[in-house]
Symmetry: C2
Subunit: 306 residues, 2 copies
Amino acid sequence: MSVKQLAVYAPASIANLGPGFDVFGIALSELGDTVRIEAVPERGVQLSVIGAGSESIPIDAESNSAGAVVKHVKETQGLDYGFSVEIEKGVPPGMGLGSSGASAAAAAYALCEYLGLDLSQKEIIRLAAVGEAAVTGSPHADNVSPSLLGGFCIVGPDYEVVRLDPPDVEMVVVMPDVHYENKTRLARSLIPEKVGLREAVFNVGGTARMTAAVALGDPVLFGRSIQDRLIEPHRADMIPNFWGVKQAALDAGAYGCSIAGGGPSLFAVGPEPEEIGDAMAEAFEESGIESETMLTRPSGLGARVV
Amino acid sequence: MSVKQLAVYAPASIANLGPGFDVFGIALSELGDTVRIEAVPERGVQLSVIGAGSESIPIDAESNSAGAVVKHVKETQGLDYGFSVEIEKGVPPGMGLGSSGASAAAAAYALCEYLGLDLSQKEIIRLAAVGEAAVTGSPHADNVSPSLLGGFCIVGPDYEVVRLDPPDVEMVVVMPDVHYENKTRLARSLIPEKVGLREAVFNVGGTARMTAAVALGDPVLFGRSIQDRLIEPHRADMIPNFWGVKQAALDAGAYGCSIAGGGPSLFAVGPEPEEIGDAMAEAFEESGIESETMLTRPSGLGARVV
């Protein structure tokens, strides 16, 4: 405990990216969370949250993603002291940008550094996924992996992640002013258990093309691979004027446009991202929904001490 | 018509490769078909077939894959002469190794060369797919693409194909002595229209990992990505002792093992391919089925004049 306080930043991420539901995600360069930890003599985990949307984020160690990670480590390591944890939110929660994942990743990375834990890539992803599980009910890793490792991350069985350098491509993200309680759980509840084989094969195709696009660094193929017939049709219902906004993006020249993670944000890739973003925001406005537009790029960097 | 006769070789291929049903395929270095064409004054298409399994291959230009390609070109180009077409089979038909696709690809490539047709990649794939449609009823391109282009080919909408250099990996293929009439149609008929979302997501994951494995040239990840929960459980029924043969491959150290294309061959990747092949052949034998084992590698080369 020689370090008094340690601060770690972890980037936001977009999971699914169209075809890759529960399989891949990509780190973003614009937004991220910073987690500051400090050992304290009291045995508990004291959480505080500041920044974007912090008022909606629980600060108990059971249901806060960073808190759950810290609590888990404290218990599994049998530590007889506690932690003070400050989460500075840069990623707005409930928008589909991996907010809980960024906090969990930052907390997991910070603890490893702070305590000198020598975890493998798998182990640190698994640890961050404990945080995801606290918020969403399932320990999926398609957000925490890119938040930890940066780049484009493919999550395999047992948290085995294949990381590829991200393509150099501008992405536009439009965040509508729409809020749900337990949004991730809601988003998951909309998905049916049975799907058409045709739709499955369509997504398998998009997945292969998107992965190849990342490997080849081909931004156009990347954009054109943003296609989803498995999940999008079902989650569209939770986003006002989803189809109109998507069409506006395509009409403005987007190669592809879909729901960011569990939504309600949409993201798109195209030759003129600013125009695409404006068109999407306008389409939201037409249905009485305000929104915020962000231009961003994939981030090759993941969690790091700041 | 200055060239009297032209001979083109096109390699065999394995489609699906586990997770990528109707999406990708890979060219093989060991087997291939050679198509020899020659313009003749008579207006028709005269076909002859020699070599592996040739007795089971139709020689009318409607239902032979190479013949259908030649007939199509003759008609669309409005040629007032005919062709003599000799197909030398190296790819055994009805085994799941892209036999009709290899003949169709060789014929399409040969005609382009012979007639000096300046087709785009898309157009020549579409042309070869005409041959596939004649045999299987659907103009899919996951065999003809690797037979034409070599390597690992991802088939997108409208015959847009992304080609990656293949990984350097030894593959074992075991061909059981099992024969069906209209095998490809049978194989397709076994697949349900609805599938579980879980199974779809499993294959999406395998698809992403396999594509990344090819891009990274990682033979172990490639082998471990040979996983299929969408199609294999249904097509397993047409292969005697399928699960036993697969288990034998895994017990012999295979990273992965699945059905080659529409079957009934199985293929596997692992550190000791010869032992794996022996174990698989033995498992077939235990259920009274003879088989032939082949060690092969992906081929970076596709169709070429020989």
